[in-house]
Amino acid sequence: MTPLFQVKGLSKNYGTHIGCRDVNFDLYPGEVMGIVGESGSGKSTLLNCMAGHLTPDAGQVMFDTRAEGMKDTLEMSEPERRMLSRTDWAFVHQHARDGLRMNVSAGGNVGERLMAVGARHYGEIRDTAIDWLDRVEIKESRIDDRPSAFSGGMQQRLQIARNLVTGPRLVFMDEPTGGLDVSVQARLLDLLRSLVREMGLSAIIVTHDLAVVRLLADRLMVMKDGHVVESGLTDQVLDDPQHGYTQLLVSSVLQV
């Protein structure tokens, strides 16, 4: 089986400061990879380099495109990359306002990606939007409300619906539950788990919360100071950490 996504030797510096250095991994269809680390570990830099928001200094980011097989996304033209990020890729931001249009209704937000790839039937677009809002547990009656009228958890779920409506194969998530209340987080994680399984999504999730990765991720990469210090099966890395930093991280988690 060919991997869906391959990162080779990815590095990014900020002047003399290492953002991330020499990151390598393969991601297969249906796999969820967690990237954990504390502030300054380089995990957000890595995520943004992979997703095409930042330009890395070295390395390749290969993706198995539908039409042309494995291609290095860093070598793609901007129109190609933008098209990719509207169809096969999705990006869930930590703050919903970065991933939504706050002055457009919920239905419009969900329908935008459809319209961007040529949907031209209002009724069908609206039906698809209603269907997706239902899947993320947002009531149909709120379809015409603006996200500014939603709670944080609802905004985040709307962001997820907006991203998944075109059936992407790879989802990047940046602290998807950050800043949300605990019960809201739990609901969101349930939703993500079932969507990932139902849609056979591959996902890369960056977080500092070990409980989130245990729940969502099959595999885990631990980062410190821009380097990947350990990686493997999530439960193995968390239950039998080999690297000193991972051991420190795991033992620091407060038990409820």
Binding site: D218, R219, G232, L233, D240, G244, Q247
Partner: protein, 227 residues
């Protein structure tokens, strides 16, 4: 079906003065289809550790752990995940569940992740829960609030939902009354007769004698005390 050769395990605690603790060395074990092997040994000897290594939850320091034709000690994470989904089942001592998921869904999950249609998966789940005498009114509730014994039975139901060719059972009859213990032992016998290779840890001698064909004492794999 399960073959362990020359497996060792060492824990290095980097943040506690780099203390190195070698817990296992030269472990060998072989379990054929239809066999049930018990791991024995005093508390702390490494029974659960060995079981976790077979499951891939702990990393073996050296050696080979073959389950079917996958070497868990060196396999890729996705291979291990596939193995756990299709081939290797594990019933741990404690029920670990995602909060807020209904008991029925907890038990049906292994089948759903194999692509079994929802109705069929739920039917099997109901069947097992009924066998293990979990009252129907509890099926739609999350098991996190159940008693220890009830949780253990949900754990077992989930473990036996799919017909795994290989199974690891860690104290499956602990916290169970005589009736339920009987049910669990029948489930194990049923699994054996359909050809599953089983490794179990049983503190209950009677249970062990009933279902297990052989015993392996893991103390045999404890490294000789160093100076």
């Amino acid at each position: 079906m399960i073959e362990i050769s020359n497996v060792s395990k060492t824990f290095t605690l980097h943040n506690q003065g780099s203390a190195v603790i070698q817990v296992m060395d030269g472990a060998n074990l072989s379990v054929a289809a239809g066999e049930c092997v018990a791991l024995t040994g005093s508390s702390g000897a490494g029974k659960s550790t060995l079981m976790r290594m077979i499951y891939g939850n702990y990393l073996a320091a050296s050696g080979r752990i073959l389950v079917g034709d996958v070497d868990v000690a060196t396999a890729e994470p996705r291979e291990i995940i596939q193995l756990r989904r299709e081939v290797l089942g594990y019933v741990s001592q404690f029920l670990r569940v995602v909060p807020r998921v209904a008991t029925l869904d907890v038990v049906a999950e292994p089948l759903l992740s194999l692509g079994v249609p929802a109705e069929e998966a739920e039917a099997r789940a109901r069947d097992l829960l009924a066998q293990l005498r979990i009252p129907e009114r509890l099926w739609s509730l999350s098991p996190t609030t159940f008693s220890g014994g009830e949780q253990q039975r949900v754990n077992i139901a989930r473990g036996f939902a799919h017909t795994y060719p290989a199974m690891l059972l860690d104290e499956p009859t602990a916290s169970l009354d005589a009736q339920n213990r009987e049910t669990v032992l029948s489930l194990i016998e049923e699994a054996k007769s359909r050809g599953a290779a089983i490794i179990g840890i049983f503190h209950d001698e009677a249970a062990r004698d009933r279902v297990c064909d052989r015993e392996i004492n893991v103390s045999d794999f404890t490294p000789k005390a160093a100076a």
